[in-house]
């Protein structure tokens, strides 16, 4: 793949500014964005929580509003559209930190700004340095997946999970400053952050020289127009999507209208050679590993594994947890370590193995995302029709709000679903190869060494892809 071009076609530097359109800029600068979206989702999640509470332990999962909206509709939209296209746009409208942020600001609409600074309620403490990374999110997300067998069949499990997350976000918001919960704790935040580096959308500064001359940096400290970046970024300087929650506060606070929302080629942030860390490397591998486990367990032909995940027996459930954790924390990272060791040997360059390992882990992101998209197809195509039922009868009380309560189960495109999955994986592989070759040049510098060093990684990617294909289509 030619350097400077994504898949040899699109310049990596290509951008199309969406905020060049006055109505887009007005919309994003309005305090109703994203408050309006958040309030809608607060309503929606209230219904979800009620459905989870009333659904209890016995209501069928496919007829429960909470389960269907969260684990079928939201999860599929997140993986197939929101993250790959719109980066962290879910974080823009996420209702989970809403209460906590409301308490911090003591205002629902408008900005608390007095005596030259934004005002916040709470202790405003600093998150511990040792936890200022993705490790906690890695562990929490993995731990959450241990209970996946419950979430999709027991509405109460979804209720408990969401309620716990909301409670935790409120507590942390009162102790720590800004979006600390979202940055370091939220189980969903970690993979959104890493995978958003592949996304087609970004928020970035337009002209860095304007910011360089700017003496007050309202985007960071806030002003009467908005709050300083709640995600603790320095908006004038950040270079990748990982921690940008797309709240658009910087568009509101920038005194020079110098922030923009752009369309861009996919995957360009994966090539930003800074802040790469073992925490993010593990996030990439954990996501790939969990995709494998989920497919094997929930869409594969091995019913025993599904029984284990559903805790049919305690010993089976513990075995599931043990295998799941071992695969994701030890086995897959070790396999990848082997391939990166071979890559380093092949390149014959004095680059630390850790750097090789971490760098190349970012090349697995497109394939990991593709695996999740393919897995999501396996969810939505057979089961999407149940959504029509739960929309009309959210609490299984015999309602028929929209006349769709008796809509029959109707699988869609399941005949070609395997081919869609294959196609998705191949597209992901293509992007991963492109990224891997470029990362090889970054890591090993000398062109021939980079080619030698890339081959083992391409082998890993190819083997993973074909392994996933075999799992998905047999």
């Amino acid at each position: 793949m030619r350097d400077g071009l994504v898949l040899g076609l699109i310049p990596e530097t290509w951008r199309f500014e969406l905020t060049q359109f006055p109505w887009v800029r007005r919309l994003l600068k309005s305090r109703w964005m994203p408050l309006g979206l958040i309030l809608f989702n607060v309503f929606l999640f209230t219904v979800i929580l009620m459905a989870g509470f009333f659904g209890g332990l016995t209501s069928p999962g496919n007829y429960n509003f909470g389960i269907m909206i969260v684990w079928i509709l939201w999860w599929v939209l997140l993986m197939t559209v929101l993250v790959p296209v719109l980066s962290r746009f879910w974080c823009t409208m996420c209702p989970l930190p809403f209460l906590g942020e409301w308490l911090q600001r003591l205002r629902l609409f408008g900005v608390r700004y007095e005596r030259g600074r934004n005002l916040y309620f709470g202790l405003n403490k600093r998150w511990p340095k040792s936890l200022s990374n993705m490790w906690l999110m890695n562990i929490l997300f993995l731990a959450t997946t241990f209970a996946s067998g419950f979430f999709t069949v027991r509405p109460a499990a979804t209720f408990v999970l969401l309620a716990a997350i909301i409670a935790l976000s409120v507590v942390l918001s009162l102790i720590y400053r800004a979006r600390t919960f979202c940055l370091y704790v939220c189980p969903v935040s970690g993979f959104q952050g890493l995978y958003s580096n592949f996304a087609l959308t970004e928020v970035r500064v337009k002209d860095p020289e304007i910011c360089a001359r700017h003496k007050t940096k309202g985007c960071v400290v806030g002003n009467e127009r908005g709050y300083g970046c709640p995600w603790l970024l320095l908006p004038y300087a950040f270079r990748r999507n990982t921690y940008c929650g797309m709240c658009f506060e910087c568009l509101k606070t920038c005194e020079y209208d110098n922030m923009a929302v752009n369309l861009r080629p996919p995957g360009v942030d994966l090539l930003v050679d800074e802040k790469r860390g073992l925490d993010e490397a593990y996030k990439a591998l954990i996501m790939l590993g969990i995709a494998v486990v989920f497919f094997v367990t929930f869409q594969g032909p091995w019913g025993t594994l599904k029984d284990w995940a559903n805790a049919a027996t305690l010993s089976g459930y513990l075995a599931f947890i043990g295998l799941h954790a071992s695969w994701n924390l030890i086995v897959l990272p070790a396999i990848f370590l082997l391939f990166t060791w071979v890559a380093r040997r092949a390149a014959r360059q004095a680059v630390p193995l850790k750097k090789v390992y971490v760098n190349f882990s970012y090349a697995t992101v497109p394939l990991g995302l593709a695996a999740w998209i393919a897995f999501s197809l396996g969810i939505i195509l057979p089961n999407g029709s149940y959504l029509l039922h739960v929309l009309s009868d959210p609490f299984a009380w015999g309602w028929d709000l929209f006349g769709t309560a008796h809509f029959p189960w109707t699988p869609v495109l399941t005949g070609i679903m395997p081919y869609l999955m294959i196609l998705t994986l191949l597209v992901g592989l293509l992007f991963s190869i492109d990224i891997a070759l470029k990362i090889a040049r970054q890591t090993f510098v000398e062109p021939e060494a980079a080619v030698r060093g890339a081959f083992p990684i391409l082998g890993f990617l190819g083997a993973t892809t074909f392994g996933l294909m075999w799992l998905f289509v047999g």
């Binding site: 600074r117 405003n124 600093r126 998150w127 340095k129 200022s132 990374n133 400053r177 940055l183 020289e209 360089a212 001359r213 003496k215 007050t216 940096k217 960071v220 400290v221 995600w231 603790l232 970024l233 320095l234 908006p235 004038y236 300087a237 950040f238 270079r239 990982t242 921690y243 802040k275």
Partner: protein
């Protein structure tokens, strides 16, 4: 319309140099505010650098007064094309990874002064006008002293402090 620094008169260059020091003082004050709640040591370092920039500005103002007396000059740093000596905290994720430190704050100052010294030194090479060359040479020497000050501050920081 913005002009290059090399196109200005010596009086204008000295005026811009004074504005640059004042601008930098305000930028450092803003960085101090940015880091105040997060890392008070870094904020304190930025405030020290702000005060030092004001002192630089006072010395340049004295130099200007010695040469041009009370004569006014309307040009400012905003009127030139180049970005000279702009202190920039370039790590957009510094607060997220908890990497703001006193050492990093002084490093911002060292880098800014170093860029300024190199910039004025380059102008010495490129400028034909003798008076302007002499002034750029003097400013390069002044920036060298500024750089040395921040380097000393950087050296005073505890080497064990984690950057």
């Amino acid at each position: 319309m913005k002009r290059s620094l090399a196109e200005l008169s010596p009086q204008e260059v000295l005026t811009v140099a004074i504005w640059i020091e004042e601008r930098n003082a305000r930028i450092y004050e803003n960085y101090a505010e940015m880091f105040e709640w997060y890392e008070p040591d870094a904020a304190r370092a930025f405030r020290e650098m702000a005060e030092e920039e004001r002192e630089h500005g006072r010395r340049l103002a004295a130099l200007y007064a010695g040469r041009y007396g009370e004569a006014a000059c309307e040009v400012t740093d905003a009127d030139i094309q180049e970005l000279v000596e702009v202190p920039v905290v370039e790590d957009g994720e510094a607060l997220i990874y908890d990497r703001a430190s006193r050492r990093q704050a002084f490093d911002v100052g060292v880098q800014a002064e170093r860029r300024a010294r190199a910039f004025y030194a380059e102008l010495v090479e490129r400028t034909a006008d003798p008076a302007l060359r002499a002034l750029f040479d003097e400013l390069a020497r002044v920036e060298s002293e500024h750089e040395a000050f921040f380097v000393r501050k950087l050296a005073e920081v505890d080497p064990s402090e984690n950057a």
